[in-house]
Structures are given as structure tokens and as C-alpha cells.
Amino acid sequence: MADMNRKIQELLSDYAGALRDGCLPVFLQSLTRQEGRELTSSRDFWEAAEVVRVLNGVGFADKAAIADAGLFASRVDANIASRLKKAKSSPRPRRTNGARSMTKTQKTEKPI
């Protein structure tokens, strides 16, 4: 059977392509076991990946369609409001040290 595993330069090229196109999961899922091992052991790949990220940031981040900061701020505020609501509505944490309230203990105690 022919060796279908990609070489390290092909893996880097595919990683760069996936990052540029915003579809990293597709690249991650395309990796075979052998390719995964090759990535782990290749120092060059990790060094090159750092530059690929820089190129992605410098070359494409400015062209990305980024939302308006004011609109985004209201989205963040809604997230905070939802966290506040969740914190208020969540039940009290249960005591884990085995201590019980006096009234409950007294209720279960048998009269001597």
C-alpha cells in the first residue's frame, strides 16, 4: 500500500491554509495517527507554526470583517447579565463536611 501520510512541509502548508481560511477543525480531523506522531517529533513544524500564526495575524486580521466595538460591548454586557442571573438563581452549595443544621438534627434525635 502506498504511503499516504503527508510530509512535514505538506502538513505545515495545510495547517497554514486551514488557519487562513478559519477552518482549523478540518485540518485537525484530517490528521492520521502517523502524521500526528510526525508533528509531535518535528521541532521545525512548531517553529514554522509560530510564523504561520504571525503571518495570519499580520496578513489577514486587518482584512477580517470585525464587528463594531459598541455593538460588541452590548453583547458582553448581556453575557455579564446572564452570569449575574445564573449566580443569583443557582442553589446554595451543599455542605460537604457532614455538618447539619441544629433544627434538622434535633428533629431526628429520639427523645431519651
Binding site: 503571518l55 495570519n56 495575524g57 486580521a61 477580517a64 466595538a69 458582553v76
Partner: protein, 190 residues
């Protein structure tokens, strides 16, 4: 740190929850463009960047202690990446991991890496360093990277350079390693 950012950070670490909430809006307005561009490096996808950043800001609101006594924009970005963004970036692809032939460690290094020398540079510094490094490349190497940055596929670059797809991938790999070396030199000089 510039005055506007310093003002925007006032109230961010206040003990009162509502005051902190009010302080978030100017902070978001002042830092949004920088933070989202920084995240874009790792995700390359606007929608995911916004989702992650929304949680990052909410995390900052919930636990802002790490942002006390920030002295520069670089320190702020570094702290936000290390203590807020990285955790969220890891979560983006964590759910995928059981279907992958990649260790958890490698997945983390690929999607939310430790800060390297280049990661700590600002966007303008990086542009400058990249410009200088590109100027020192051979014409064919520079052309391959420029075409890539224009958004061309490897096949289209191969057609343009009148070579094979495999040769372009190799050329790109070697050129990127060369760029890494040159940009690291630039960092040390600075």
C-alpha cells in the same frame, strides 16, 4: 500605556460588581480591536473570535485581579492572553480531541500555544520585523510568501511560479523557517 486606555481601565478592578460592569463598556471599546486581531492569529475565523472574546471579557469582569497595576499595553495583552484567552482557546477544540490522532498536549500547543518570542510583539512591531525579513529573502521566496498573503492557493502559486505544488510547499516551509530565524534576530536586536 496611553491615557485613554488607562482611563478605560479605571473601575475594572473595583470590588463592587455593578461598578465593574459599568467599567466594562469603555474597556471593551478601547481594547476590542487589539484583542480580536490578536485572537485572529490563532483562529482565523471572525465568528469564533467574537464568541471567544465575549467570554474573555465576561471572565475579566468576573475575576479582574490579574489586571491590577498594568503598566503597558504589551503587558496588558500578554496578561489577557495568558490568564483569560488561553483558557478559552483551549476549550474551543477540546471537545474534538477524542476523535483526533493528536495528543492533548499537541492540540493545546497548536491552538493555544505558550507565548513565543514573536507572540509578545505588537502588530506594528511584527509588521516592521516581517517587512525587514521579507526584504532579505530571495526574490522567488518573497514572491511565494507575498502570493500566499494575497490569499492564493498553493496550486495557484505553483502556476504563477511555473513549478509543482510539492515544490511550492517545500519552498514555503523553508522560507517560513528562514523568516522565523530572521525575525528572532530582529527581536534580539530590539
Amino acid at each position: 500605556m496611553n491615557k485613554r486606555l488607562r482611563n478605560a481601565m479605571k473601575g475594572l478592578t473595583a470590588p463592587d460588581v455593578d461598578r465593574r460592569r459599568r467599567a466594562m463598556e469603555p474597556f471593551v471599546r478601547e481594547t476590542f480591536q487589539v484583542f480580536i486581531r490578536y485572537l485572529y492569529r490563532y483562529l482565523g475565523n471572525e465568528v469564533e473570535c467574537e464568541d471567544v472574546l465575549e467570554d474573555v471579557y465576561a471572565d475579566i469582569w468576573e475575576n479582574p485581579d490579574r489586571l491590577r497595576d498594568m503598566e503597558s499595553e504589551r503587558q496588558l495583552l500578554r496578561t489577557v492572553y495568558l490568564y483569560y484567552m488561553r483558557k478559552r482557546l483551549r476549550e474551543v477544540y477540546r471537545r474534538m480531541n477524542r476523535h483526533l490522532y493528536l495528543s492533548q498536549n499537541d492540540l493545546t500547543n497548536l491552538t493555544a500555544p505558550e507565548l513565543g518570542l514573536l507572540d509578545t510583539m505588537s502588530q506594528s512591531e511584527l509588521k516592521q520585523a516581517l517587512g525587514r525579513a521579507m526584504g532579505r529573502l530571495k526574490a522567488r521566496e518573497r514572491r511565494a510568501i507575498e502570493l500566499w498573503l494575497q490569499g492564493m492557493s498553493v496550486r495557484a502559486i505553483a502556476n504563477e511560479l511555473k513549478t509543482t505544488v510539492g515544490a511550492v510547499k517545500m519552498l514555503k516551509f523553508r522560507t517560513i523557517l528562514k523568516l522565523k530565524e530572521m525575525m528572532s534576530e530582529y527581536c534580539h536586536e530590539e
